[in-house]
């Protein structure tokens, strides 16, 4: 019989497959909506920023869904993943701190209805912070359950 050599067990692999499907459909939906906005002449960010934000939104949604359904941390991966989560938390906090500093210096988040680089960084920081924050809550819940 074919053995499962990944760090995820059979239930997690099933769940991850379903969530990746959701992610795929969400990606199509986001690309469609963005194209629709462009066709209507609505520009909400620079092309590069649009791409980065849509990609990060997708990653955040999929990661949070993994965590809520217990398919984010595989068998024995907790120490490494915990370190990664701390790193992600720190980098997102430093990004948010920098954005606040720029805002305090008078840099705006929007310019003529279009997201500026600072606005993009702020949203990016919030997206990135969501992943370790959700992981932290899940780890605390897991500790209480065991």
């Amino acid at each position: 019989m074919k053995q499962n050599h990944t760090e995820f067990d059979e239930r997690q692999l099933q769940i991850r497959g379903k969530i990746f499907q959701h992610g795929f459909f969400l990606a199509i939906l986001l690309i469609f909506l963005n194209s629709l906005l462009q066709d209507c002449g609505i520009v909400w960010a620079e092309t590069f920023h649009e791409g980065v934000l849509m990609m990060m939104l997708l990653i955040t949604v999929v990661s949070v869904e993994f965590q809520l359904r217990g398919a984010y941390f595989g068998k024995g991966t907790l120490p490494g993943m915990a370190a990664l989560m701390v790193l992600m938390g720190l980098s997102s906090l430093s990004l948010l701190f920098l954005c606040c500093m720029h805002m305090a210096q008078g840099e705006s988040l929007l310019s003529k209805g279009v997201l500026t680089g600072n606005g993009t960084s702020l949203i990016l920081g919030i997206f990135v912070l969501t992943i370790p924050a959700c992981a932290g809550v899940q780890l605390i819940r897991e500790k209480r359950n065991t």
Binding site: E10, G70, E142
Partner: protein, 68 residues
């Protein structure tokens, strides 16, 4: 799917936590929890591993008389 109380009882009789059983059969704790709650239908491979760990047969833990 109905809760698998027989699995929970067999695990408790062996004085094992969900985490202990999960480690013994190579899955995460949430998977054992999902099986006990009846939220997940495990593969025969995992059922056998659980039965071996708890010294039970497949009939003891996973056969449902109601479905005959």
């Amino acid at each position: 799917m109905a809760k698998n109380l027989r699995l929970k009882a067999a695990r408790a009789a062996k004085d094992m936590t969900q985490k202990d059983l999960a480690d013994a059969v190579g899955v995460v704790r949430q998977t054992i929890n999902a099986i006990e709650l009846g939220d997940y239908n495990p593969s025969i491979h995992l059922c056998i591993a659980i039965c071996k760990t708890l010294d039970k047969t497949l009939n003891d833990l996973f056969w449902e008389e109601d479905h005959l």
